[in-house]
Amino acid sequence: MSHKFWKHLATVTMVAGAALTLAACGSSSAKKNVKITILQGKVENNKQFKTIAAQYEKSHPNVKIEVTSIGGGTQYDPVLKTRISSGNAPTIFSLAGPADVKQFKSHEADLSNTKAAKAAQPGTLDAVKTDGKTVGLPFNVEGYGFVYNKKVFREAGIDATSLTTYAKLQAAVKKIDSMKTKLGIKGVFALPGKEAWIMSDHLANLYIGQDFNGNALKLYNSKTMPFTKNADMKQMLDLQSTYSIKPVMQMDYSAQVNQYFSQGKTAMIQQGDWIYPTIEQIDKKFAKNDVGMIPIPVKGEEGKLPVGTSLYWAVNKQKSSAEQTAAKNFLDWLYTSKAGKKDVVNTLHFVPAYKGYSNFKMQDALTQTVFKYSNENKTIGWAFPGYTGTSWDPDVAQPNLQKYLSGKQSWTATVKNMKDGWKKQQASSSN
């Protein structure tokens, strides 16, 4: 009886094993095609990337592309790490900044010789250069500032584009605040205190970044954080929180963008061009006619918009050279070919980080603004990707800024904690 059982078990196991082996052989030898897998972090563009991949497969019949998208900055890295350790690493993956460049070093192919890298606009590759190699290609550029409600400004009799200095902005804010009920808004700003990154990344970048010329890599490698312009930051943060819809510490991203701005309850919010699709979903007419963006007036950097890249493409150098070449060809095609460029602008609605797009027109008012500033070179660099991947951001900067906003801590202590925390982190990470 038991002998029979073991025999049966052995047979079943062997058959299953053989089937698996055969299947494995089948997939590796039957096709000469190259299959590349993409794991990318812009989940909002998942559908568009799949459409583009299908289109590419049609014009390049020997290439198969599989796109997987993972949402949000925090969940992407663990998934990529899991895929790598389980031997299922993607051919193309995305990097968020210098911290990722360091983490995934053993998997990053040199992309310096790709057409796309050569076409990249000056400065866009700074954050992904390591040992003289370029290991990432920017997805796009994005920009942020004060996204404002044109109707409210019109009715208040204020020309938003004239608010180029802090004093002018302050005067306008006070004027709008005094007309609040007449304009039908609940507050001039909507500052989301719960969404600490709006302050720690976007706002702080304008002031911390000045000491590093807006260069993320310089910041990432710096032992200290001078934060010399912290008084200017306090001024701007105070202005936003004083004239914001209350309570500030209860507001999150969706309250700021969906509930208040898109429904015309606030005059302006500190946000970027990526919110356009959300506004459009809520109120198409409002999005089309009454949404604009102005730079945040920063002393010494007036009239400049912070424009930068939040994600970069990387190619896995541990894959076969055929696969790597196919991956590079795909990225080159996407950003430098005629058909690819059309997809970048019209399908993905990206503001390109590459040269050769001068005859394209962006799809909406916010990306148009970013594109305009980017073309005119009136930009402030994004230094914050130099710290977003480090623990300083969630563990030091964000709680301290929130403490300040809640009135639990003075600004002096906040700045000191931020500087000390950076010094401590940089000292321990270097060894």
């Binding site: 510490m249 563990d395 709680p399």
Partner: protein, 286 residues
Amino acid sequence: MKNRSLSFWLFLTPTLVALALVVFIPMLEGLFYSFTDWDGLSFTKMVGFQNYITLLHDKAFVNAFWFTVAFVIVTVIALNVIGLGLALLVTQKFKGSSFLRTVFFMPNMIGGLILGFIWQFIFTQGFSALGSALHAGWLENWLTTENTGFWGLVIVTVWQMSGYIMIIYIAYLQNIPQEIIEAAEIDGASAWQRFTKITFPMIAPAFTVCMFLTLSNGFKIYDQNLSLTGGGPYNSTQMLAMDIVNTAYNSSNFSLAEAKAMIFFIIVAAISLIQVFYNRKREVDL
């Protein structure tokens, strides 16, 4: 041991293998990684007890620890008192008692994440509307301070879990032989005496089970924490499980997170086992 034949081990093997694969081996692996500088991808060297020393000086971890301890104390008491109270209520013979059981149990069928989001809405919108209507300042600005965040978490957890605890108490309450209570009644015991001298000792095993469940649940809670407060404001309502997840995934410090998880495991296991040991002693047999 003679009767533990081949078939004994054969029947046990699938469970043992499964347990080893998903519990023991990952745990040993975790223990090993807690002595390295693993970043989730690779490690370069062994660091000895460095991670354990770091976590003792980690303010966020220590803060999360005390926050969690306070949370556990409050929820264990509240859950058991309310759970037992509800059980006593619905085991009285009156019309609609089985309907009430269903109602009390219902919150437990909603997932913790969704519950957190629902209550976030209640705390921020409902409470503040009520507060401004009644001019009650303490009802406004919920979840924006450490205190309101703490009580928000307690309310949600108690609301969700007391129905579940109630069911366990009901099962034990219904197992008490009626004749003992009747005999006591004839002997002239008051309702309070019947409860403290008969009912309470008779449901001691339920107490052991419920204490264990509420204790370990309180320590391990994550989803309500994530969706209700997200650890905010300024990470003050971050509980142990969340601090560990954030250390691993936000700060990419997997080895430190493993060390924290080991400490976490030891604390939860020790407290739960001590509790079971002591409560077992109090149980009575007929």
